[in-house]
Symmetry: D2
């Protein structure tokens, strides 16, 4: 048994095989991947990493497993899955997530599988008598309630990151009632569900996440910084300066240093801008309901169209490619709100019981917006061109 002191959970205990996994280079890399990507440009204390979050998620997953009286083996498997759930994250976490999708048609979850099976981690798991296949199945959402502990609207991942992000940003909304949620969680029909007396705690968690979204996760300034970073990486990959398949071996240090010392002028400019917080500004913005559904759909699906538009706008403004960036974030998924409640022995959807949960499903969309960014001195020009293209 080893103990690691965490800023959120105090002492986190690890068993021998868990320590060995933590000691692999693959896991140590997470120490250098910021949990919230560029958000530290808005909340200066948001420097926490995927490393401590992974430990925290493992800790919570173990507490849930204990509450559910799972077998020793399931307890260990679910802790392993939680520990490894973010092993595939690329530099600056979500900031580089879209690169994976674009160039490798994969996600950090899928990468996790690859990293586990291609590294020493698989050997450690097997050496201690556990099955790497089972761990991967849990991560792939193929193991019913075990998977739900790791990935669902009420998982150990979310319970850890909400509290942790609140602690490190200084934004109070993420405080949730961990104790109450864990003590009311049950397995019912192979689902993870919450007893009715835990309803308020779940509502509080859903609201916490909802409020953290505009305040932290989708904060304007970090969206801009993310978009700039993304564009610089994209161009580097297109120009073969960087291999997309190397992304998961990199960390925050290596991508920043890569951009700083890139032979290409654009990348160096972006690196300098990020280093000195001299960011692009918002030139144009449209909310969910202000944009025609057909166009919205197209923008969301057709990456080539987006690039073409970026190019067109830049040219109209006499700007080089890369100095006009269109940001079309993915639509928040309704499933994020879907929690199962046990009432009088029956499983029901939380919407049946909670008007708050119901409203959040729709309110999420209002947090979405389509935005165009450009250097401060070009904002006016770019805005005018956008007004012409997308409507005032």
């Amino acid at each position: 048994m080893k103990v690691i002191r965490d800023s959120i959970h105090g002492d986190i205990q690890l068993e021998e095989h868990e320590i060995k996994i933590v000691d692999t280079p693959e896991f140590q890399r997470l120490r250098r991947i910021k949990q919230l990507g560029m958000t530290y440009l808005v909340y200066p204390s948001a420097n926490h990493t995927r490393f401590e979050h992974s430990l925290g998620a493992m800790h919570i997953a173990g507490r849930i497993a204990k509450k559910l009286c799972l077998s020793e083996e399931e307890y260990r498997l679910v802790r392993l899955a939680a520990l490894l759930h973010d092993i595939g994250h690329c530099p600056l976490s979500h900031s580089s997530e879209r690169l994976l999708l674009m160039y490798l048609n994969t996600t950090h979850e899928a990468l996790a599988k690859e990293i586990i099976t291609s590294s020493e981690i698989k050997d450690i798991i097997e050496e201690y008598g556990y099955s790497k296949e089972e761990v991967i199945k849990i991560l792939e959402r193929k193991k019913g309630y075990l998977s739900k502990i790791i990935s669902s609207s009420l998982d150990a991942d979310r319970m850890d990151y909400l509290v942790r992000d609140a602690h490190h940003t200084g934004v109070a909304y993420g405080i949730i009632d961990l104790d109450r949620i864990i003590t009311t969680v049950e397995i019912k029909e192979n689902e993870l569900a919450v007893e009715h007396r835990g309803l308020r705690a779940v509502e509080a968690l859903l609201v916490a996440r909802f409020l953290m979204m505009p305040t932290v996760y989708l904060h304007h300034t970090s969206r801009i910084a993310d978009a700039m970073f993304l564009k610089a990486m994209e161009i580097s990959i297109e120009e073969k300066l960087l291999k997309s398949s190397d992304l998961w071996k990199m960390d925050d240090y290596s991508v920043i240093c890569f951009l700083r010392s890139c032979e290409n002028k654009y990348q160096r400019d972006i690196a300098r801008r990020l280093d000195t917080r001299n960011l692009f500004k918002l030139a144009y913005s449209k909310r969910w309901n202000e944009i025609h559904p057909a166009r919205r759909k197209k923008l969301l699906k057709d990456l080539k169209l987006v690039r073409k538009l970026e190019n067109e706008i830049a040219e109209s403004c006499n700007l080089e490619y890369g100095y006009v960036i269109i940001d079309v974030p993915p639509i928040p998924r309704k499933e994020e709100i879907d929690v199962k409640i046990i009432k009088n022995g029956e499983i029901i959807s939380i919407e049946k019981e909670s008007q708050i949960a119901k409203i959040l499903k729709n309110a999420q969309k209002d947090l979405w917006s389509f935005e165009v960014y450009a250097p401060r001195e070009n904002v006016e020009k770019v805005r005018k061109v956008c007004d012409d293209i997308f409507g005032v």
Copy 2:
């Protein structure tokens, strides 16, 4: 007025000239310099930076200035000094401090003066009608009580870092009673002193710092990581791969990437070891009272002797230079404990009133130790050689 949300103090308000200073590249660099250097290898959440600490110190300095009813001008000067007190910190904070001393015969405090006067910061200070000379004098401890607010046993710096380091490491000892200390602080005979009713709060602060030392600041594992980093940097400077005068322009990202991609094999090995937390181990250790005062003095003063010893031990063990590291930390200074108390209108030293303060002065020394590090597989051999040289 702009507001920055801090994980410790909540909303920190900044005036226009303060924001402009924060926006300079010199100040933004602090975002990428970890407050506690390599400590994140022990406490994974210890990723906070000099950036937020500088804002926090400014905030506390302002609160003290208000309590003391200083003039508007002194209030602003003391906030500026606090904001800038760490501007000269080099990568990984204290980890690189000894390089400054060795190669430039300077400190981060002295560098601060240079950075302020050679950058845009000086212009901003003057544009708003303040005197950069005054700010620098405060930082140079030449301005009586104003300097004491920034640098003394009871300064804004310490009040911020104790709480901040506790919050981010998860170690509870650093919690202090900020409110009580600030409301009992007085100026007396050009000194910063505390009313007698604040005695317990000051004792608590002194004990907090004392307990944080072995637990966090002098933690074994971060001492080792620091020593490894230091040796790799030292060799790089000696071999002209790095200019010591460039240190203050670098950040954590650039030094780590420099070591990773260094043409020299040793540096690359150290970078890999730090990245994967495959650290040297303790081979030999002697406490303050276990080592002859004359030898102690020599080791502390004579850097060449230390290198010669490192070399000798390495050779005896068939190791290359750099794989045996001797760590001789500076002696804790007694002045760190010296707080002035006001009792019945007289200024007295805290030792007169507090047995705790008295004992801490001496107890500090017990935290000091002379240590020798080497790769895990060479620890036994190195220990034997050290036993011969320094005594069992």
Copy 3:
């Protein structure tokens, strides 16, 4: 200046006239009136009192006044009003509030006026050059934004009690972002409004209050204990054992001791039951939408009808009067949710901007229920009779 250490706000500073008011017997009485009445029977740590809450409300009111740059005089008046806003509370706070309405046709707010003008408090206010009339006008909601600081959906009262109740019950929902709300508050058209960038903080506050309602303020068990206490007091007043006009001179100690030593057997039984937490149980319950609007209205308005029904049910079950209690709480008021937001220089209602605020207005009603209580051994019998009278 005197300082009182508070569990929530740290050091609260008081000026000379404020200390004198705190030192009056009228104000000291608040030390013995629990903030949350009988809630300590559910949350054992909920023993905090109106005394510290009043200090906390004063502290927050002062912070708001400073943010709004009010004059010195308005700053002091608004702090005085906040300090005195609960001076009229009777034993166990809200538990006895309904007695005031029933027998004196008054509220604790109205009583506050009487206590201020009939006691030494008025002299202290005037001695220091302030106007007691102004203070009372603020409390009576006749002073525009000043009154709104004390009593509105976004007042100092609520900001204090939510955090304080969370801290002392251990229920995390009450944590709000005080800093953000205070820094975004503005006066606009004689109204207290919040800048748009404070919207999320206000939503969080509204949700916090909403979640605290079923979890703490309307918790089942404290409703039952309250109803028992109320019935015992009611009978005592009816039987002239207690004068309703003496209520505001009493405290938690005196009412409990009165009931314990009452000559009437019922009161002694209730006292014993409260002392040993041997409470009545829920026999029957109907939610807002399960009860015919006309009947609901009648029950809410016609106290005599309620008593007649209690009597009837008790007789049907062979129980003495007082052993069947019908609880018809007041309807939550929609105004509680109504916050003004400033968007593009215009004042708008929060509902325009926030789907959450909109839904809470209606969701509040779902927290309401009509309930009937009886001793554990009579619950079944009483339920059957209620089914007959009110429908299954």
Copy 4:
């Protein structure tokens, strides 16, 4: 399993037999006994009670038992002992402790035994197959390490009250590192000891207690209020208005109401003074080293002498008996500091390893003082008489 939400530990789980004990009138009485007696007159939020503290101590005792891998039976016994360790506390906790000694020659610990064996509690313990004798032996310090968990320098009692008192007073000194202490606790030679790596956490706990003493536990103003309450109770017992053997059946409510309605004028005056915080003032004070050891010893041992002196001083000042109170608190016990440390497999006293622990043993005495109190208007006269009797 039932869960009680606590302000410190979150959800505290109770087994069936524990709930039954909590539900007895004897245990419910603790809800109405303030943990810190009259301290709420200094720290207004200090209204927490023996009830929640007892639950908290049980919770920590259970955590220690689990860490030590005790048997199921020992685990339950030690939780029961912790739950019941304060069942004998009389009104206002320590305030009435001296009455027990004076009139019944007993302590709350001894009373606990009596209450357990003479009430339903014994039946519940036995019904569930546990031995009340064992529980009592643990409380009587006759069961080696089990007793040490409940009562020693490092017990569950202290670990709970330090944190709880800090949380409710707002004084930060009581924050301790529970996690670290519990994970380093060991049984060694039938003793409870701490591994060397827990040394700093133990030092922090000892300092926390030391600093809480003058700041909270021995705060001047609560000493005065306690002394006034004690004198009024003493006179009531002497005059047969109150039976000392009834003390343990009373609670804070009944003693305050008793004094308020006492036929004797003195008691009513004291009650009024406590209710309105119109307290006696310090007239004379001597510290440990300012008073001749022989006299100190006499004052500590000879209660009759103290009363005679009170009487003499009162007469000299034309005051009635009771308006001059001499307070001679018990000497702090050195054992309070004595913690066992395990170093290299050996048990040693903490003093061997910690200069802080060593100094605290002596520093404790400096917190002691002999004091004389009188109404504000008589303070000067009383001081002069005391100067004559005890020396300037």
